[in-house]
């Protein structure tokens, strides 16, 4: 379709562009400027050059926060995709029982993060929680995973996976409806085992769905704040200080807008690099943005001929 005037597409894009500029580009620009200043909201700005970045670099603080955030995101994405897919495959069956189980699994997703965090804090409490009682009954020492620097981060990731899995499952269930039965039957007639049918028919056809689930989980995990704020406040021993929480802590608790802004800029660059990497991988695997899977998905079924 050719626009009647060259400015028509821009006019169509204008509302979205305006929103993007006002709520994304300008704030990032402001944060970039603030990162060169020392400011605490109340006293005058003071130019400090790269001092905020140097402070973040000192003692490997920024690297630690980035690695922690990446580790948390990796656990959340891997757990959500794997569990969501497994549950979708298990529950993709007719009947009221399965519908009830599907609804139950999904219900965690509609509960607020605050409620989820409070629920899990109670479950995991080594003193009065379910975990503590269970361990005591088994004759083991009660532990508080949220109080142990080695286990706090994986525990937070577990909570996020628990909450996000229902959503992933629904998306995978929708994706499974797009897998043509004819292909699965043809594969079965060719002697493919259930595992081979999953490996060579279902999985390739679910690739776009998997990418969608992975991307949304990644975005959600990078934005993790509520669970950290409520369950650990970044502790113990900074084991759960993730990017967004660290930014909040610097600006609102430590009175350091400049340091928080420097963190925001680094976080933005990290996300930018990750998004670029993901796009590159996606383009390589699909042969470019124009290469779309055929509606019946037959061009993706390999290894059965």
């Amino acid at each position: 379709m050719t626009p009647r005037a060259p400015w028509h597409p821009w006019a169509m894009l204008a509302p979205t562009l305006a929103l993007l500029v006002v709520f994304f580009v300008v704030p990032i620009g402001v944060a970039a400027c603030e990162s060169f200043f020392s400011w605490d909201l109340l006293t005058p700005h003071r130019f400090v050059g790269l001092a905020n970045y140097r402070a973040l670099g000192a003692h490997g603080e920024i690297v630690a926060v980035a690695l922690r955030t990446l580790a948390y995101s990796s656990l959340v994405v891997a757990g959500t995709v794997a569990l969501g897919l497994a549950l979708a495959l298990l529950l993709d069956r007719p009947g009221r029982l399965f519908a009830f189980v599907r609804a139950s699994v999904f219900s965690a997703y509609v509960v607020s993060w605050v409620a989820v965090a409070l629920l899990w804090m109670w479950l995991l409490d080594g003193n009065s929680g379910v975990l503590g009682a269970l361990l005591r009954r088994l004759g083991a020492n009660p532990v508080s995973p949220l109080g142990d620097p080695r286990w706090a981060l994986p525990t937070l990731a577990l909570v996020a996976v628990w909450k996000l899995t229902g959503y992933a499952m629904i998306i995978f269930l929708a994706g499974l409806q797009g897998v043509p039965r004819a292909l699965l039957e043809a594969a079965a007639l060719d002697g493919a085992s259930p595992v081979a049918r999953f490996r060579y028919v279902t999985m390739p056809l679910l690739a776009p769905t998997t990418a969608f689930v992975a991307t949304t989980s990644l975005v959600t995990s990078f934005q993790a704040f509520d669970v950290v704020r409520i369950m650990t406040q970044g502790g113990p021993a900074r084991a759960t200080e993730l990017f967004v929480y660290e930014i909040y802590e610097q600006i609102f608790l430590n009175l350091s807008v400049g340091r928080a802004s420097a963190l925001t800029v680094v976080f933005f660059l990290l996300l930018f690099a990750l998004a670029g990497l993901e796009l590159r991988v996606w383009r390589t695997r699909t042969g470019g943005p124009a290469a779309r899977p055929k509606p019946d998905g037959q061009d993706r079924v390999r290894g059965l001929q």
């Binding site: 020392s38 605490d40 909201l41 109340l42 006293t43 400090v48 001092a51 402070a55 000192a58 003692h59 080594g126 003193n127 009065s128 361990l135 005591r136 009954r137 088994l138 004759g139 083991a140 020492n141 009660p142 508080s144 949220l146 109080g147 620097p149 369950m231 650990t232 406040q233 970044g234 502790g235 113990p236 021993a237 900074r238 610097q250 609102f252 608790l253 430590n254 009175l255 350091s256």
Partner: protein, 391 residues
């Protein structure tokens, strides 16, 4: 005249405060105080700062002690010297602004003591009597007693000997006890020097001996967890705030006994809690109305009601005298311990960066050192380096 008052309490303390606000509002018609809850101290402070920057701050609030010098330097606090009766309020010296802080830069009166406290030892008297033990008077006695009181049952049950939040306030107490100070008389930020490291090593020792339970969570979550462990009988002895005296006594199923913090080289204890502050940018009429409420809160009846119902220290001398005369301390020996401990109170340095030292420099490193077993000297050298970094 309506005065908006932002406060930061929960549970019992919140109820007591709201009762007093209602009483004030019902007792006169000139001023109506609207108390608005703003979360815990740090959340309330974050909101106050943001509101100050946006020009929508309330007229009256209360802030943690450590942030007062910073807010004063920022020029957002109303000087109170000229207000009616400001110089006549007979505060307990160690709890007034001029007794709570020390330093040549101490400015005019900008804050009035409200809920003031000190750290204190709480112990389960039943456990102590069963073990034939008495409360520790020194660090060494504390370490021995914590080990002695720790019990590990066959079913995995543990009763810990000792628990304390790994946090700034208690570390500052130990720095003082080990003979150090945060800021030297020449203004150099030393963070206690060797005393700061000694305090960390003592905690590391207790954790490695498995006689101290480091509570999960940070800030007030860790405090709450410590109180819960104590009330559930899972810890025999803890350090907490005098603010919790009443709460612990009312909720424990065993007699609670309090004692002063143990000494190392000397006895020392910081004061804590918050101070009333008026926002300078507020309209004059509202500030005068807010001051009327502050003065009313500092009157003997209210000071006593506040202190006896919560456990916070009575902040004025007439209130203390009346409590002594009425025999309150005789029937509430735990409150007496808290008050007597003020004799060892160490004033805070009046330096604007005090709050940054707490939040950004020391607090995040304490758990790092204690729970991960990092070298105390290395951690504190890093903290001093961070403290010296221009903000």
């Amino acid at each position: 005249m309506v005065v908006t008052f932002w406060y930061a309490y929960g549970d019992l303390v919140r109820r007591v405060l709201l009762d007093l606000v209602d009483k004030f509002n019902a007792g006169q018609t000139r001023v109506l105080v609207k108390a608005v809850h703003q979360g815990d101290y740090y959340e309330a402070l974050a909101k106050l700062r943001t509101a100050l920057a946006a020009g929508v701050a309330p007229t009256l609030s209360h802030v943690v002690l450590e942030v007062v010098p910073y807010l004063a330097r920022a020029g957002v606090l109303e000087p109170l010297d000229g207000y009616d009766g400001a110089t006549e309020l007979a505060f307990v010296p160690a709890l007034a602004q001029r007794g709570s802080f020390a330093g040549s830069l101490l400015e005019s009166l900008v804050s009035v003591p409200f809920n003031r406290s000190t750290p204190i030892v709480f112990a389960n008297r039943d456990v102590l009597e069963r073990e034939g033990a008495s409360l520790p008077r020194s660090w060494e006695e504390l370490a021995l007693l914590a080990r002695r009181l720790t019990r590990r049952g066959a079913g995995g049950d543990v009763r810990w000997g000792f628990e304390v939040p790994i946090s700034w306030w208690y570390w500052v107490a130990m720095v003082g006890q080990a003979g150090g100070r945060l800021v030297e008389t020449d203004g150099r930020v030393s963070l206690g020097g060797a005393a700061g490291e000694r305090a960390i090593r003592f905690w590391q020792r207790l954790v490695s001996e498995r006689s101290m339970r480091p509570p999960p969570g940070r800030d007030y979550q860790a405090w709450q967890s410590t109180n819960e462990s104590f009330l559930q009988g899972r810890v025999a002895m803890m350090w907490s705030s005098t603010a919790h005296v009443r709460y612990l006594e009312n909720n424990a199923r065993f007699p609670v006994v309090a004692a002063p913090l143990p000494r190392d080289l000397r006895a020392s204890v910081p004061t804590g809690g918050t101070m009333f502050v008026l926002v300078r940018a507020a309209p004059d009429e509202e500030k005068r109305a807010a001051w009327e409420f502050v003065r009313w809160m500092c009157a003997t009846d209210q000071t006593i009601a506040w202190s006896t119902r919560t456990g916070y220290m009575p902040t004025t001398r007439p209130a203390v005298e009346r409590l002594i005369e009425s025999g309150w301390y005789g029937s509430h020996p735990n409150d007496r311990v808290a008050y007597d401990q003020l004799a060892d109170a160490e004033p805070w340095p009046w330096v604007p960066e005090l709050f940054r030292l707490e939040r950004d420099v020391v607090e995040p490193r304490l758990e790092d050192a204690v729970l991960r077993g990092r070298d105390a000297h290395e951690v504190m050298a890093e903290a001093r380096e961070e403290a010296a970094r221009p903000v």
